[in-house]
């Protein structure tokens, strides 16, 4: 079964450093998403991306965050200057079509980001 692949599985970074989280969505999917889950809390939507631009973003997704699809296979989330409160599990997801169809999302296994 096709998978969404995320790397690295765990990243430790110092406060103020830039981090890039990487995702390889399923190859024929068109919609891409990032979510985060602070330890012990619920999964929160960050941003959705379609046709090489952001289609929707949450209040969490401020100027410190950016997304990019640098080539035909990767989808990245960049945090420019990490803060302690950015420590969380970050999930990438992709969808073949809009949620209004039968396909829904496929989530990756996540990247645990620890800011020290």
């Amino acid at each position: 079964e096709p998978e969404v692949t995320q790397t690295p599985s765990h990243q430790v970074t110092q406060m103020g450093q830039e981090v890039i989280l990487r995702c390889v969505p399923i190859s024929n999917h068109l919609y891409f998403y990032w979510y985060r889950q602070i330890l012990g809390q619920k999964v929160e939507f960050l941003v959705s991306f379609y046709n090489n631009e952001i289609s929707e973003k949450s209040e969490i997704f401020d100027d410190q965050f950016s997304v990019e699809r640098p080539d035909g296979s990767n989808f990245t989330l960049k945090i420019r200057s990490t803060k302690l409160e950015d420590s969380a599990m970050y999930f990438c997801a992709s969808s073949e079509a809009r949620v209004g169809t039968v396909y829904g999302y496929t989530f990756g296994s996540g990247t645990r980001l620890t800011v020290v």
Binding site: Y31, Y33, Q41, K42, V43, E44, F45, S48, Y50, S55, E56, S58, F91, R98, V99, G100, T101, V102, G104, Y105, T106, F107, G108, S109, G110, R112
Partner: protein
Amino acid sequence: AQSVTQPDIHITVSEGASLELRCNYSYGATPYLFWYVQSPGQGLQLLLKYFSGDTLVQGIKGFEAEFKRSQSSFNLRKPSVHWSDAAEYFCAVAGGSASKIIFGSGTRLSIRP
């Protein structure tokens, strides 16, 4: 705005017993509803989803859920739980024209031997 409420933070059931996890949603139109399961330190696995049609949907691992529009509910059930079902369960909702999924706060399921 869309929202999901999972009223039970933690549930413990005995192995072999039946299970029902509650989920209530808020959405103005017909929602798209999901149940995901997450084992500790792991990603999110889709158990089942509902878009339209039969209001009783079957999922993986023997789970099922029933959509009740009148109660704005989408409760997850399993007739007989196994120790391996211990995990965090998230109900989620999406709108027909929205591109995001909104998750509930989750219910942690523990299994008593």
